[in-house]
Amino acid sequence: MSNAIHVEDLHVSYHGNIAVKDVSFKLDAGNLLGVIGPNGAGKSTLIKAILQLIPKDNGQIMFYDKTVKEIRKQVAYVPQRNDIDWDFPITVLETVLLGTYPKIGMFKRPKKSDKEWAYECLKEVGMEEFYKRQIGELSGGQQQRVFLARALAQKAELFFLDEPFVGVDLGSEETIINILKQLSSQGKTVTVVHHDLSKAESYFNKLLLINRELIGFGSVHEVFRPEIMEKAYKGQFAFMKEIGVSV
């Protein structure tokens, strides 16, 4: 069977500064992958380059043996929270409705059925009572749930979420991870950028550990081992042990 994501020899740099170096991996459909590594390790860069949102220096990327162009409409992407303008004049429901745009096509407007679907997705994340709110008037966890609802509205095959748990309350975090697990059990492929090591073990079934270079890739128990983590987090790792993060 073809891999949901197949990355070969990926290199990315910004104006000559290397951000991601020599990354190769294959991921089958139905996996919930955690992309972990310290701040500035190139996690966001990696998923943006995989989706060809930024230019790469070298490398090949295929999704189900197709190029990214051919599967774009099957991609749902949730940006890092500081990439969003929270003052934008848009309501919660309108934000989720954006998820229906890829399949509506040019010049057409969302229909009543699209709006109902968006509302269903809001219910899924438990945010339906806030549908009229401007998106800035929500807590961090609520905002992240709205963006997850938008991703659900896309009815995508491939999900990419950049640090969805930053600034999120525990309840929202649980809602989000449960939905992501559910998606992967339905055969969707979910990739989550996550810089916090705690819980990585229980959240994901595969891990990709990166610090510019690929340090480890595989099932959680293969990658989540002190000697491998040490390599990615270097000095930070001992520190994390001290403050009681279980490893």
């Binding site: 409409k73 934008f88 004049p89 848009i90 309108e94 407007r109 938008r150």
Partner: protein
């Protein structure tokens, strides 16, 4: 005052040149207001100012070639946009620096060409507007541009919304963000050209951002913001023209000052964002906390 307003409308009805001035400035108010919403939401106020200045050499060149200055303006506006994009994408020069370099360059060339090819009076009129000499053909051209711009916003509303709000998502699902950017820049040059007689190149940016910013303080819905902003733009034109007439002042300046006055009112009194309610609210929560 009321009598004077009646007089003003009578005057507008009576003289054709006033009718043309009135209609032209109202159309300009509407389209600047509409496009302006996207300009401010995309954080492109500086770009708006730049492109409006950058049409000048194109206008000058159109005189020489004997073509409608509309075409020259669009060409120089788009070339400047491309130049800015090229510099900021191919070097460490940041976008705002590239904008500053390119538009002052284009504007300077424009100043020299217009004064050499025409006269300083013409330059003055292009820079600051000259509403009282709008010809019928120019009114129709403005009307045509207005209709075109509004239709484009209507047709591409969905794409403009998503690429303004979350460009990474729109790129991820395959929208051509760059094309949308250039479309917006083309519309911007068209709006600038339409505004030359009303407010002039120098003050176009005010018509683009002030009514839009006013609307931004009053609503949380993009489509309402567009209607409000267009309404404020049109109202600024009507009121500004009145003051220009009544006190024999430069119409571009009075229109912009009217728009600014509306902004100040919204800034103080807006129910959600206004400084007045905010301070009342914070006082009452403080007294609640005390009590």
């Amino acid at each position: 005052m009321f009598g004077e307003i009646i007089n003003y409308f009578n005057y507008v009805m009576e003289y054709e040149y006033m009718q043309r001035a009135f209609l032209t400035s109202v159309i300009v108010g509407i389209i600047c207001g509409a496009i302006g919403c996207f300009i401010i939401l995309r954080g492109m106020a500086l770009m708006g100012d730049a492109i409006s200045h950058a049409v000048l050499p194109g206008v000058a060149l159109s005189y020489v070639l004997g073509i409608n200055f509309f075409f020259g303006a669009v060409v120089s506006g788009v070339l400047t946009t491309i130049g800015i994009g090229y510099i900021s994408q191919n070097s460490r020069i940041k976008n705002d620096i590239a904008i500053g370099i390119m538009f002052t360059f284009a504007f300077s060339i424009g100043i020299i060409w217009v004064t050499l090819l025409k006269s300083s009076t013409d330059l003055y009129h292009i820079l600051f507007g000259n509403l009282l000499v709008v010809r019928t053909s120019e009114l129709w051209a403005t009307f045509g541009i207005g209709v075109f711009v509004l239709v484009m916003i209507y047709l591409f509303y969905k794409e403009l919304l998503v690429s303004s709000f979350d460009p990474t998502m729109s790129a991820a699902y395959g929208l051509p963000n760059k094309m949308i950017h250039y479309l917006l820049m083309i519309l911007l040059t068209m709006v600038t050209v339409a505004s030359i007689q009303t407010v002039g190149i120098v003050l176009v940016v005010a018509m683009l951002i002030t009514p839009a910013a006013t609307a931004y303080l009053l609503t949380d819905r993009l489509w309402i913001m567009i209607y409000l902003s267009s309404g404020f733009g049109a109202l600024s034109s009507i009121v500004g023209l009145f003051f220009s007439n009544r006190f024999d002042l430069d119409s571009g300046a009075t229109i912009v000052l009217t728009a600014t006055s509306m902004f100040i009112l919204a800034f103080i009194f807006s129910p959600k964002q206004g400084v007045l309610w905010r301070s009342i609210k914070s006082k009452s929560t403080k007294s609640l906390a005390r009590g």
